[in-house]
Amino acid sequence: MAPPLIRYDPKLEEAIARIEECLQSSYSMSKRAIALLLLQGDREIEKLVEAKEGKEAADIIMQIVREMKVGGERSPLYRITMARQQLSEYIASKVVERFVPKPRTFTDGLSDWLIHPFFGLLFLLGLLYFGFYQFVGVFAAGTLVELLEDTVFGNYIIPPIERFFNWLIPWAWLRDLFVGDYGIFTLGIRYAIALLLPIVTAFFLVFSLVEDSGYFPRLALLVDRLFKGIGLSGRAVIPMVLGFGCDTMATLVTRILETRRERIIATLLLALAVPCSAQLGVMMATVSKVKGGILIWALFVLFVFLLVGFLTAKLLPGEPPRFFIEVVPLRLPRLENVLVKTWTRLQWYLLEVTPLFILASVLIWLGRITYLFDLVIAALSVPVQWVGLPKEMATVILFGFFRRDYGAAGLLDMVEKGTIDGIDLITTSIILTLFVPCIAQFLIMVREQGWRVTLAIFGFILPFAFLCGFVVRHLLLWLNQLA
């Protein structure tokens, strides 16, 4: 065994030596490292040592550890950390040479502007408008989707598939599974590829570009104050922004948050009030048909986001999050890295999310032929009618669960047929936005937070979405009368 690089204080060294003597088994780390971890109070290593050395030897070792903790001295953890810190500082002072700091560069100035309360916000709005609204919303969700969905799928891909299944399967009930209104090909695959793929690709492209530029830590600093109010730290801005692309992925990314409390708040807000890109796309197409619709919808959803965040932060026990983020230098993103990142995210999307569309089509088909859906729709039509909407909305809302945008698409049909008016449209869009996440997000929530938390979130959102719908509808009706 080579002699150690760090010598701790004599008392610690003595304890280390005594513990090392007691360790008879072999470990995948040096005995010195094991002894040090034990002295720092590492439970997992304690259990490991007990399993390997037996209860008796472990008791002797733990006695040595306890002895070190008594007395008026600093804890072993502190002393060990300090010794390492001092040696690190010493080594760094030997090998690191700092030049005279360079004069302030252009990026330093830019960095200050980005976190400036006013200009930073201005930049953020610009980025949201050009990067996300114009590029993702208008170009990808509009132009590209139209091209893919109407032209490529509508004219060239779907008709031959329909002809094929018409020829293959004589029974309409079974054919519906593949090419019906909600069939695997006509809805599941068409939606995944023609509607969502271009939107998600564009979103991930912009997101990766912004990510690689080093803008996010600055954005986190900018919004930290606001986010503190809703129980989150500035760090949560990353999953929140990602949520506008795909809430499912964003729910997964809440892992970067430090405490469980913060993760639960973020998961709730993502499920409730952050619309994903698919949903945004269809919302733009429907709600924008009413004058000022988008504005009312956006303001109300933002209001709900802040209100619920504020209330949960007040009600949920636990420490407010600490905020510590490293502000990386601004970089010019490298095209290659951005493309690779976008591609990795798309791969994830295609492999993990697309199968869920197909599953959703199958579940809808099953629900329809077993009449189970009719039951659920009947149950849902009670709150729907209470809000004051036509009861067909229950169908739209139920399908919204399988993909939030399925629901929105159903809504689009109703708008085109002219069965609902402007106020109903805004009300339904708000209910759909707030109401349950899509099935994929739901499953991820269960995986990340467990059934209990997920059902609690679900149990809150369900009545709350309808309540909001009720309030909005009556508010709008009242305002309409005034006007």
Binding site: I6, A83, Y90
Partner: protein
């Protein structure tokens, strides 16, 4: 000009990946058992994953660490005809874990029996990163220290004497710029040397002694 350069590098990397893919298919590496294992560790945001990607190319599997939601990335690569498995771990600040991710990272270190551990650090913040390096040395792993983000360090007016650092730590130190791929080949070479015991770094304990005791 700059634009052209970037395009070229995209194509070069695509070409490299294709070659990589082709040679892997030829050697059926997916079925072959790796002969050596490398575990990459480091605190969050130091470019571990980028270095991992640079080392492995696109053949990567992702799995959850049993019983957790923490993801572990595994990839493979050939260095001089020897098949290496590369494991990317979640970020860790210290060997003493304080979060689930750190616990997983440490379990991986202990369970995978790595032939080489690559500690990736941010060259701009060497002082903050060294405590983990010291712990990894203490734990007896065959260590390679990868000083990442050298370009940013230089921009920030920081110069690091890597030879002196190698001497002090008795651990090979490789400067890299993961975003551009500079230094990756040298890193591969050093990993190979450490894995095969062809470089010996004798321990010189006296350097630390006097200073850690006050």
């Amino acid at each position: 000009m700059a634009h052209q350069e970037r395009q070229v590098s995209v194509f070069r990397s695509l070409g490299a990946r294709l070659r990589d893919w082709w040679s892997k298919m030829g050697q059926k590496s997916l079925e072959a058992t790796p002969q050596k294992r490398v575990v990459i560790v480091g605190s969050p945001n130091v470019g571990k994953s980028l270095i991992f990607n640079r080392l492995t190319g696109i053949y990567v599997t992702v799995s959850n660490y049993p019983g957790t939601t923490v993801e572990v990335f595994r990839g493979r690569t050939y260095i001089d005809g020897v098949l290496y498995e590369i494991v990317d771990t979640p970020g860790m600040y210290s060997l003493l874990p304080s979060s689930e991710e750190e616990r997983v990272a440490r379990r991986l270190l202990m369970e995978e029996q790595p032939d080489v551990v690559v500690h990736v650090v941010d060259a701009k913040n060497l002082e903050r990163m060294l405590p983990l390096t010291l712990q990894l040395i203490e734990a007896g792993f065959s260590l390679v220290l990868a000083l990442n983000m050298m370009d940013e360090a230089v921009k920030a007016g920081i110069q690091i004497d890597t030879e002196l650092l190698t001497d002090i730590l008795c651990t090979p130190v490789v400067p890299v710029i993961a975003t551009t791929g500079q230094g990756i080949n040298q890193l591969r070479r050093v990993i190979y040397e450490v894995a095969h015991g062809s470089t010996t770094y004798t321990i010189r304990p006296e350097i630390g002694r006097g200073d850690s005791q006050d």
